[in-house]
Each structure stands twice: as C-alpha cells, then as structure tokens.
C-alpha cells in the first residue's frame, strides 16, 4: 500500500472519522488494532507473505515476557542476539547467503522499524524504564501502528502508551484540524508533485545511470557535472519524499489525537555533520544514540585508563555507530561503504571539534566558526558530503564499481567540490526565499483567516490531482525499501 494510493487515503479517512466518534478507550484500542490489521493486509500480498513478520513479532513478545523472569541469566543479551540474528536471516544479508532461504517469498517491509521498536521494548523493560509488559493488543498496536510501520517515526513505547490513553479525551479545535489537514496535503504535495517532477529530470540519478551505461566517452567535466547534479537532485528528492511521508503520517496522527515525533528539522541548515544528524531522520539518530552510541561510549570509557585518550573515544564511538547505521539501510557491501562514508564524515567532524576545543585553539576556533562565510562553507560541505555518500542508495554493487572504475576518486572529489560550491550559494538563497514565502503567506493567510487557509488547502489539493494525471507514474515512498 502506497501512501499516495486511494486505499491509504480511504483507510486513514475512515479510521479518523470512526475514532473521533468513539469515546471508549477499550473500543478505540480495538479499532486501532483492526486498522493496523487492515493496513498490513493491504500491504502484504497474501497470508504466506506475512508469516515471517508475524513469527518475528510472536518470538519478540515471548522474549519480552522473559525479561521479567529472574531465573533467566543473560536474558537481555541472548534476546538481543536472537532478534538481530532473526533480522539478518529474514533480510537475507549477503553475509549469510550460504544459508538456504525460506521456500516461499515474503515481505520484509517495515521489519527494520519493528526491530528498533522491539529492541527498545526489551532493553527498557529489562532496565526498568518501562514498568509493565504491554498486553498482546497493546504490543501489536505499538509494533504495527499503521502510521509508523513503514518508516517510523520511531516512537518510544512510553509516549505511544500515554498518547493512546490521552487521545480518547483529546479535544480538537477548528484550527488544530485545519493545521493537521494542511500538513497532510503538504506531504502529498511534496511526494507527488515535487518528487514526481524531480524524478523525471534527465539530471536525476536514473538519468545519470543511463548516461553512464550508454556513454563510452572518456571522463571529462560533463561527467563530473552530471554526477554532481544527480547527487544533488537525489538528496533533495529523498528529503522531499521522506519529509512528505512524515508530514502525511504526522498530520493523520494529529487527527487521531496522536502527537507523533518529528523526523526532520531543516536538515540543510545544519552547520556541520554532527548538527546534520540532529536534524535528519531524528528518531533514528536518537535510537542509535540511546541504544548503541551511549552504551558503546560508556563501555570504552570504562575500559580506558589513559585520560588523554578519553576525548577521542567519542570519535571512535561515532564511527562505529554510523557505520552500523549505514549498514542497517541495506543488505550488501554497498551499504557497508555507505556506513563507512557516514562514519568517516561524522568522526572527522568530531575529531576536528575535539582538536579545536583544546585550550590554545578554543578562542580562535570560536571566532572562526562565527564568521558567516565560514558557516556557509561548512553548511555547503555538509550537504555535499552527504549528497555524494547517498550515491550508495541509488546504485547497486555492480553500478557502484562501474562508477568507481569510470570516474575514480579524482572525479568523485571533483563532483563533491562542484556540489559544495553550488550548495554554498544555493542553500542560503533557498533558506532566505523559504523564509520570505513563509512570512508572506503567514501574513496574508492570517489576515484573511480560516476561509483563506481552506482556499489555500483546496488549491494544493487541485495541484496534487493535476500532478497525479500529468505525471505518468506517480513516485512511491522510497524509504520503505530500507
């Protein structure tokens, strides 16, 4: 089921109407349960297709129950290990290619996010952060909540539980509903219109791959510029696609009385790579910080006696965390390359930060980074590095090695510099324009009030419908593949 599909719109609309007409907490819980079942049945082709994920969930629940038993030693460690192994086997990571596959085809859509939620539940139940084990219905609703099943946001169980309880008594206002509807429409506008037009540009990644496969010309500046444009467009496409999806699910959630966490906070305004990850896919970064980075750093610090090395342990922990994060995106070596790319980027950034924090450099560094041009340079560099790293998401092993052999490191760096220079000038311009448009529209719409805002929403809906017809095959939500 695509979020741009009629079935998703109808499912969301019917559940919004039904849930807002019911006050009983228990009845609402069972209705959410039925909505989740309906969503999963639309998503999967048949029952056989769903069996692995159902088994994964069932084993997960048994492991969750085992966390409360004092008789089982190492229950947490063994549970985490078993869950990760099941995940690797079901996702068919290339490292376990020698193992026989299941004798039927099955869906792994949403499995990555189920993994995050399950690990969070098990670790927090064991650690005491979650005081009681959820009932099977609660557990299913949390794990398979149809708004966050495909690609998050990864919500903490404690927040989900609190919102589920509070949503029965949630009082909407005319403005809050309008705001939620505007958010949904904006999401569709991003996914269907912006991404639709972007993806059909010959300068998009697909166009570049066609260029690579059909042009036998030797490497020249055209190659570098086309690679740079493909990287830039894909990065923007991914942002609009993913943030559009988030807008839709957060908007629908708000209509239920759920306050789903945000996943994006103006990521291209990030001043450096560390800042970027506090703004891009925020709930994923938070999860990795809580359940990998922090324990890893704690462990490294506890094993380190040399105080001089202590600041550098963070660099190592960042590298490991982001390499694992990259690897999580896919099952083959391309994603290891992606992870190493991310890990290098963030650890170099952290190392730079650590070095600059030394007493004799601290003041000069502070002055240096407050310079507006330096800030824009770092901002552009962050964007360009991420854009080039994302190449791993639009190629496969064969294409990446073809690109490597045709372009080499020199051309790759050339493309990075092209994107960097473009970003230095374009990102501030885009920020300024966005600010201007948002101020103008806020002032204009506020002065005309409720009806004007509804007219604005209606115009956007007509634009979306137009886009659906003008663009031959609407683009899908791409992040669900990871």
């Amino acid at each position: 089921m695509e979020i741009t599909s009629t079935s998703f719109v109808l499912l969301s609309l019917s559940s919004i109407l039904v849930l807002n007409g019911i006050k009983s907490f228990i009845l609402r819980r069972y209705l959410i349960f039925l909505t989740n079942i309906a969503f999963l049945s639309f998503l999967m082709i048949d029952m056989l297709n769903m069996i692995p994920i159902i088994v994964f969930l069932a084993i997960g629940y048994i492991l969750l129950l085992s966390q409360r038993s004092d008789r089982l030693r190492y229950s947490l460690e063994l549970s985490v290990l078993l869950i990760v192994v099941m995940f690797v086997v079901l996702k068919r990571y290339t490292i376990i290619e020698f193992l026989p596959a299941l004798p039927f085809s099955y869906s792994v859509i949403g499995l990555s996010y189920v993994l995050f939620k399950l690990l969070h539940l098990i670790i927090d139940v064991k650690g005491g952060a979650i005081e009681r084990i959820p009932s099977p219905t609660e557990y299913f609703n949390y794990m398979c909540f149809f708004l966050s099943f495909l690609s998050g946001p990864i919500q903490r169980f404690q927040d989900f539980e609190a919102q589920e309880s509070a949503s029965a008594n949630h009082q909407h206002t005319r403005e809050s509903i309008q705001k939620a509807l505007q958010r949904i429409v904006l999401g569709f506008l991003k996914v269907i219109l912006v991404c639709g037009f972007m993806a059909r540009s010959q300068y998009f990644s697909d166009g570049f791959l066609l260029f690579v496969s059909t042009h036998s010309n030797p490497l020249d500046v055209v190659w570098i510029v086309r690679f740079a444009s493909a990287c830039t467009l894909y990065t923007l496409f991914l942002y609009f696609n993913f943030s559009g999806y988030m807008d839709v699910v957060i908007g629908v959630g708000a209509m239920f009385g759920f306050n789903l966490p945000e996943n994006f906070q103006k990521p291209f305004e990030a001043k450096n790579f560390l800042d970027f990850w506090a703004r891009w896919h925020i709930t994923l970064s938070d999860w990795f910080r809580t359940y990998l980075f922090n324990p890893l750093l704690k462990m490294l610090v506890s094993h380190c006696s040399n105080k001089k090395i202590l600041p550098y342990l963070g660099v190592l922990a960042f590298f490991v965390t982001f390499t694992v994060m990259g690897l999580w995106h896919g099952t083959n070596s391309v994603f290891l390359v992606y992870g190493v790319f991310l890990g290098l980027g963030i650890s170099i950034n952290k190392l730079f930060h650590v070095v600059m924090q030394k007493k004799n450099l601290k003041q000069r560094y502070s002055k240096f980074r407050n310079n507006i041009f330096v800030q824009q340079c770092f901002r552009g560099l962050t964007f360009s590095y991420f854009a080039v790293a994302l190449t791993c998401l639009w190629t496969d092993e064969k294409l990446l090695s073809l690109l490597g052999s045709k372009m080499g490191l020199f051309a790759g760096c050339g493309a990075l510099i092209v994107v960097w220079f473009a970003a230095i000038f374009l990102l501030p311009t885009v920020s300024y324009c966005r600010l201007l448009v948002s101020r103008l529209s806020d002032n204009f719409l506020c002065s005309f009030g409720y009806v004007a805002r509804n007219i604005s929403i209606s115009i956007q809906i007509l634009l979306i419908l137009t886009g659906l017809v003008v663009i031959q095959n609407p683009v899908v939500f791409v992040y669900k593949a990871f």
Binding site: G21, I459, V470
Partner: protein, 348 residues
Amino acid sequence: MRNLKLILSQLVSVALISVVLSGSLTFITWLFWGRQAFIDTELMSTIYAPEPIGVAHGVAEINSDVKNIFLIGSSNVREGFRPTILNQRLSDFTTSNFAIGASNIAQLYETVGLVNHFLTPAGRQNAVYVVGIWYGQFVSNNKRWGPSGKTDLDNELQKFRLFTVNDFELYPRVFMSHEVEVGYIRLFLPLIAAKRFMVYARSLPIRMPYKGKIDDVFKAESKKFWHDYMGTVDDSVDVEQFEYLHKMASLIDKVGSKLILVDMPIPNWHKNASAHNTDYQNRVLWRIEKLAKERQIAYLDMRSLETDGDFYDSAHPTSQAAQYWSASLSHMITESMKATGYVRLRID
C-alpha cells in the same frame, strides 16, 4: 462527537471550495481554449511523457460526426506524421495523432480498442486507422511492460476507473451511455487544462531529443540500446505481437472502420546494423502482407524513405523529413481510398 463534527465541517468546507475552484477552472478552460479540433500527442510529448494522458483524455474529444483519421503507432509516427499537414491536404477528414512513444503492438491494439469505444456506430463507419509499424514494436509484453503487463495507457486509464483491461482489451466496469462516459471524463477538466498547459509548455526546452552528430560512437550506442530494448539473445522479434495485429485488424473490420498499415522507415545504418530488423523482415513482414491481403487492408510501404540524413537519431525523422513524410502519407491515403480491396502502395 464534537471532534467528529469539526473534522466533517473541515472536510466538507475544503471539498466545497475545491469543487468551486475546479468548476471555475473548467469554465475558464472552455472559455479560452474551447474544444480541440484534433488531438496531437506530439504536442504533448515532454520528458514527463504525457502522451498516454493525451490519448486517455483525448478520446473524450473525438467528434464522431465527422470522418476521422486516427494515426496510431509509436514515437516515429508521433513525430513523423503531422496532423496539421494531413488536415490541410485531406480536408474531408479530421486527422488526430494518437501515437504513444515506445509502444509495442499490444499497446497499439489497446489504443485502437479505446478509440473505437468512444466512437458512435456511425463514427466507426467513417473512421480510418493509420497504423505505423516497425520492428521495434515487436518487443514482447513481458520485456516491455514487465510481469504486471500494465501498459502506459493502462496506468492512465486506471485513473478514470472506467475500464478493466484483460489481455490488452478494454472492458467497461459499468455500462454507461456514450454521453455519460464522455461527460465523466470531462469532469476531469482541470486536469485537461493541465494537459493543455503541457501543450503550451512544449515550447519550453524541457524535451531534448538527440540533435548531435550521428557518428560511429552514436551508432554503436544506438545499436546496443535497441538490442537491449528488444531483449532477446537470439536477435528474434516477438512473433506473438503479430497476433495482436491480427486482433486489431479483426476489430477494425468488425466495426466497419478502415485500416491502413504503414511500414515505417528507419535510417539505412540502423537497418543494416540491426539483426532484429533482419528477423522482422524475414519472419514477420510476409505475415503482415498476407494479413493485409486477406483482410483487404491497404498496405503502404514507406521503407524507401530511409535516407540517413532524414533522421536526427536512430528512428526519428527531422522536422523537414516529417513534413515530407506527412505529405507522402496524405497522398498515399488518397490513393488507397480510391481503390477497393487490398492495395499495396510504395514510395519510390
């Protein structure tokens, strides 16, 4: 219940405003652009590939009260046969171009079925289908459309929910009168306005056909492209596509329309380099000629127009050549109309 009331009032309010806006746009569209005299998918061809959209919407604008010529084919027909020239030279007819780029024969059959569905019985009697064929259309359904078998036209028609498609034949979901169906499609007028906007946007540089030098590198790349496009290791064309041509001829014959098959030219260098073309000539072309004889179909052979200089790439004519092709086609159509029964014409 207060929440429910607020949500419903918000949704109704937005729906009403959308209807009013859409109605206004519809009215303005009709006021300023009126009804299109003929359809030309070439005018809608952009990188956003809205030719199937042009066909799916365009059928609602077919005028069954006049004698129609429908040009059906793939991109070489779309670019090579200019309705403006044909309309000037064949003034008794209204010529529309319903060609869709990268079609195989199965999609052509589906297009003919769609156009036929939107003609009145009298309109069918006066309709002439000019179908341009060449080896590139004999690509298998699986290779061209993937396992789903959904053509580009299917994807567009799905948006209206009027038809289900089985083996490239259209079946109405609900039986409605011709006027109701046409009226229903016209409800999507803001979208037709968008389509018309694309016609105007055609002048913008968003579609960039290859206009560079046709050198050895380009020829080698083209050869590889077409070889991969056809997707067969033994360089054979898909003979099953011939069955769809047969079905198309039967349908046109059954409803009393006329079919003119046009054998489309490709550049000499492409013809000589393509093993698929050789297979097409050896294994399929004689069947097509046989079919034309059996069904009393006019068969126009334009393969003599294969001068390399008339093509800007491996299959598409330059704008000058398109004018000449269109003039030649109008002449041959006139000649074929004079004759009764099977007629085979060739440009020498």
